[in-house]
């Protein structure tokens, strides 16, 4: 019904932007309520996240995380699967990265990154495969199973880091640092030959381009290939997909494997690209932010780029906020929650009045 009542641009752009504005307005109220100045807060966030190449280095680093997890959630959403397990899949993906980087003596980072991407994707996909299988074959609700798998992943990583992968001399539940050969080229290294002076500190690295490439590839997958056609058809109507000879089991499995693999790949950035070792909670909630990103981007592989950047900005800006004001970093979790609420659950609240508005305008013309 919706598409009939509103032009497509309104559906794709206006609704999420309005939702975002409401979410931001409410966040501003929260900031006011705790006695801070929202305008100053916004200015601080902008300077902190976008005002320097140092800030950009972190903003784009977080953006890379959210691109991959947002893409993961999107692909599953397209098949009408709510993969809430991106967090767990990314955690386990990190295990894959760590194993590849710790135990194989790579001669060069370029080989290692390929292996790390493969390993993280496989690990993430495997972690998504069990809930996917249970949904496809046993009808277990994928939302509940992926939640459970997040906690199981957390416990497993907790065990691995404190008992198995921790170097004997270290007290820190983290792996040893990877060999320096494996250090991924950062924007500083990439842009320097072009004569651009980019901060050395920001951890944004080649994975940014991998993530963007993944978005483009996912776009082609969803809109130019038969598999994408089938995933979208299954997501729109399960009985119709069955009628068309599209196997539900196959689509659920494939969509979840891709979703898990993408979320898992995020770990290459946050483990190999960032601290160059696997630490506890290396995902930092990016799996969940992926949900907000996918919802805002209407689960479109290209559509999620802007929201991923937005959340990258919020994440980096938010940590600056904590430094300069009494607004804690958790403020961005509130914004994240409101974005999820308004673009996801309260979609109709924004949409219905808009549809009425468009109907009125149409009647007049």
């Amino acid at each position: 019904m919706s598409s009939k009542r509103m032009p497509k641009w309104a559906d794709v752009l206006l609704v999420p932007i309005l939702s975002l504005i409401i979410a931001f307005a409410l966040s501003a109220l929260v900031i006011l309520a705790i006695g801070e100045d929202p305008v100053r807060a916004m200015r601080l966030m902008i300077t902190g996240a976008l005002g320097s190449t140092y800030g950009w280095g972190y903003t784009l680093y977080f953006t890379t995380n959210f691109l991959l997890t947002g893409l993961g959630v999107s692909i599953a959403f397209q098949a009408r699967l709510f993969n809430i397990g991106g967090e767990g899949q990314a955690l386990i993906g990190g295990l894959g990265v760590a194993l590849v980087c710790l135990f194989i003596p790579w001669p060069h980072w370029s080989l290692a990154i390929i292996a790390a991407i493969a390993a993280s994707a496989i690990f993430g996909a495997v972690w998504a495969a069990i809930p996917a299988y249970l949904q496809a074959k046993r009808g277990s609700h994928i939302v509940i199973t992926t939640i459970m798998f997040n906690f199981i992943a957390f416990s497993l990583m907790n065990y691995m880091l404190s008992h198995v992968l921790r170097p004997p001399t270290s007290m820190d539940p983290a792996t040893a640092r990877f060999d320096n050969v494996l250090r991924l080229p950062r924007l500083h290294d990439i842009l320097a030959p072009m004569g651009i002076d980019f901060s050395r500190a920001g951890p944004a690295n080649v994975m940014l381009f991998v993530a963007l490439l993944a978005c483009v590839l996912a776009y082609f997958l969803m809109w130019r290939t038969r598999l994408g056609f089938e995933i979208r058809a299954f997501g729109k109507s399960e009985p119709a997909a069955h009628y068309a000879g599209i196997s539900g089991v196959k689509i659920i499995m494939v969509a979840m494997l891709i979703s898990g693999a993408l979320s898992g790949m995020m770990a290459v950035n946050s483990v190999m690209g960032g601290p160059q070792r696997l630490v506890m909670n290396a995902v930092e909630g990016a799996g969940f932010i992926g949900i907000a990103v996918a919802l805002m981007g209407r689960s479109h592989p290209i559509g999620i780029i802007a929201p991923a950047l937005l959340f990258g900005f919020l994440f980096q800006g938010g940590s600056e906020l904590a430094l300069e004001t009494t607004i804690p970093r958790e403020m961005i979790i509130i914004i994240q929650a409101l974005v999820i609420m308004f673009t996801g659950a309260l979609d109709n609240m924004v949409r219905t009045p808009l549809e009425t508005l468009f109907a009125l305008m149409r009647r007049r013309t």
Binding site: F288, L295, I334
Partner: protein, 321 residues
């Protein structure tokens, strides 16, 4: 394992199961009415904070409880507005509520108390007193009964007993009252309730408000009885374990009690024995922590007794012919 250890573990089980119990019953009420509630965690957390904060300000745990319940009900109403009034996705709304609670508690706590997202420690009347069961002292010498009644059951915060009483109460309301009949019907086939002249919307709101109250008590118990004040993320996944218990119990109150006691015991054992040596294998505490989730996945997979949720669960009700 000697008897003292077992008694201690069971004693601890009862304490640790109580927040799970409140959240589990809340989940049962809400989902029986057809509203999926993965926001239990968030409601526990927000209630824990407001209870501790107001107990601190007022000096009374009871006023804290009121504030916690109120906060939890407000969150329930957010969920209701999104998923009942605007027919949004109940799961997404639940996710949002969890994050909202996670962020709000720290932001507000920091603003009010400036202690890095915690409340000051609560003392005296700011916490719930323990309740000595009548005659507990007297039976302490008696074997078995003495241990069960005189040591395990007695001397807990008053909310532990409130929780235990809520189990038969929930059962009675669900199965023996008009309200319960309508509530269960609304989760199975809302159209049947609607055509019978009962408002589906009102029933569902009633259910989530009750769920809010129960979560509120659970959260208050966490910060003003089990602990002495709020710390960030203090619900620590208990809302999700409660969700697991609810599935484990197949949405039934007595079985829910059983499930939370089991999960509470796993937590108690993990506390007591970080590495549980079973002779042939040593189970790390991480395994015990993950066990409720693993068990729930097994139940969900339908290998051991299929868990069939209420049929209209998760679906917004749209009036149609």
């Amino acid at each position: 394992m000697d008897i003292v250890t077992i008694v201690q573990i069971l004693d601890s089980t009862l304490r640790l199961a109580t927040p799970l119990l409140f959240a589990c019953l809340a989940g049962i009420i809400s989902e029986r009415a057809g509203i999926f509630d993965i926001g239990l965690e968030g409601k526990l957390l927000i209630a824990a904070f407001f209870s501790a904060a107001y107990a601190h300000y007022s000096g009374s745990a009871w006023i804290g409880l009121g504030a916690g319940v109120l906060a939890s009900v407000v969150f329930s109403l957010f969920h209701g507005i999104a998923s009942i009034t605007f027919r949004g996705n109940q799961l997404i709304s639940g996710v949002a509520i969890n994050f909202l609670a996670s962020g709000m508690t720290v932001v507000i706590a920091q603003s009010w108390f400036r202690q890095g997202g915690r409340t000051p420690s609560l003392t005296g009347d700011q916490r719930f007193p323990s309740l000595d069961l009548p005659g507990a002292e007297a039976v302490q010498g008696v074997p078995v009964i003495g241990q069960i009644y005189g040591e395990i059951l007695t001397d807990h915060g008053i909310l532990v007993y409130v929780g235990l009483l809520c189990v038969p109460l929930t059962w009675y309301v669900l199965y023996r009252t008009r309200f319960g009949l309508r509530l269960r019907a609304v989760g199975e086939n809302p159209a049947a309730v609607d055509t019978a002249g009962v408002s589906v919307v009102r029933m569902r709101y009633a259910a989530i408000v009750i769920a809010g109250v129960l979560c509120g008590i659970g959260g208050a118990y966490l910060s003003t009885s089990l602990a002495a004040g709020f710390v960030r993320e203090m619900s620590a996944g208990r809302g999700f374990i409660a969700l697991a218990a609810m599935i484990f119990a197949k949405w039934r109150p007595w079985q829910g009690l059983g499930a939370v006691l089991l999960f509470g015991m796993l937590e108690a054992i993990a506390n007591r024995f970080p590495n549980l040596d079973l002779g042939f294998i040593t189970l790390p505490s991480q395994f015990m922590t993950a066990l409720p989730y693993i068990l729930t996945v097994i139940i969900l997979a339908g290998f051991v007794g299929k868990a069939i949720p209420p049929r209209a669960g998760g679906e917004p009700y749209v009036k149609e012919r």
